[in-house]
Amino acid sequence: MHNVLQQLVNGLSLGGIYALIALGYTMVYGIIELINFAHGDVYTLGTFFSLAILGLLGVSNQLHGTPLVIDVAITVIGAMILCGLVGVVIERFAYRPLRNAPRLAPLITAIGVSFILENVMQLWRGPSPVPFPQVFPNPAWVVGGIEIQAKQMMVILFAIVMMVALQLFIYNTKLGKAMRATAQDRDAAQLMGINVNATIALTFLIGSALAGAAGFVSGVYYQSTWFFNGFNAGLKAFTAAVLGGIGNLAGAMLGGFLIGLIEALANLFPNGNQWSNVVVFSVLVLVLIFRPSGLLGESLPEKV
């Protein structure tokens, strides 16, 4: 029982990272019906950008008090802005020219962009894992025999704050409404005075910025990264988006946490960690067979 509860805590923090990445997949799919396979690599890029910014700030050890808050804020915001810009550039030059092409063309382009990003990162930081400094003090609490690390709480809280902010943006602002309108009917949205190109670019900006935030969080969580990280994490986040109902924001969050939990619970079995990918992608196959619209796909068809 202890083990189960322990894995639930681990699964929630893992799930927070997947949920942040899954949001980007689902937002882009919602608005232009493209599976942006480069998105996982934008997430890894977020970790790399965070590393670079921490390097510029001269941070290599644990921080405390005010420097902790300031340096972390600069790093997170910096990684989010840089990743957001990368997302906008990818959309502008790789996907926009293919907006009216057959759907296979942008999909293959997305895979190509993914390779480009992976190779650029490999050139930048080499082919081996790169350590990420432990910037947070990481005390652990033992509650009823379950160990909860501070960084796990941080990951979960961070993911929840980002999601709440995104919901507020989508449902309570003019640009959020523009995104929902563009997702539902692009032509009608134009006729409401909405600049559709700018709105699609904004979707990539926000989705990629969330991936950047996830990249920072994962660096803190795993204390290491490597150029190929985004491939696996991206596929799992994609599975999370499909599980929740692709195109559905609440679904992506739910799916992210569920995939995290499923992966963590798989660890309860002997040699479970070697099977976690099998379990997760079996979920993908089962969802595609039995409920292709995802958990929230039909009851809440709101897409962005």
Partner: protein
Amino acid sequence: MPLLEMDNVTKMFGGLTAVHNVSFTVEQGAIVAMIGPNGAGKSTIFNLITGIYEPTKGTIEFADHHIEGLPTYQITASGIARTFQNIRLFAFMSALDNVMTGEHARMKAKLWDSLLHTPGQRKEEAQVQARARELLAFVGLEGDAEKYARNLPYGSQRRLEIGRALASEPRLLLLDEPAAGMNPREKEDLMDLIRRIRERGVTVFLIEHDMGLVMNISERVTVLDHGDKIAEGTPAEIRSNQRVIEAYLGKPA
């Protein structure tokens, strides 16, 4: 003073000429209609005015500015709104959100305001919402604000589309077959609504198949057939025009 002026506009799709050298004007404050058999090019005219298509030839002036070739969203911002022949509401948004989306072009909030939820942005959202509720009441949907657009009955969806179009504060409102599928009672209400829209200072230009409605409320009627303008005049003149009768009923043997 003409609000809208189309001058020798031609639109070709490959070898097919959908609209051929059509010229006409819409006077400020008028209610005008365009009629014609199916495939005459009426909807193409609306798509040309709203920038969905670019004319192959000819010019379109709105309030003394050339608008041909401008992107659609800028044309909307300049004061032209439309509804669609087959309703195109944002099905998975509430009626209120649909109308608020229509106000998009008039809102000032920038990216930063939206991302940071500045007080100015929140104030604007509140104002826009109040205006949207007022417009819902104007089209008779005050009780349906929170319902998903797709859950509204057909006639209400048509009214909601008009409300959404009015939300962009247009000077010219284009209605594409607003009476399609309506019963006589709903048509009466629609005519009343169109007259009230004109009283708000909005010029109305409609495409319609329902002759009773067209002849009843329009001041001028333009007739299109196979992409050509074949007649223009008051409803009485159109009713007795030989070419119009031929276009609709065929030539006498």
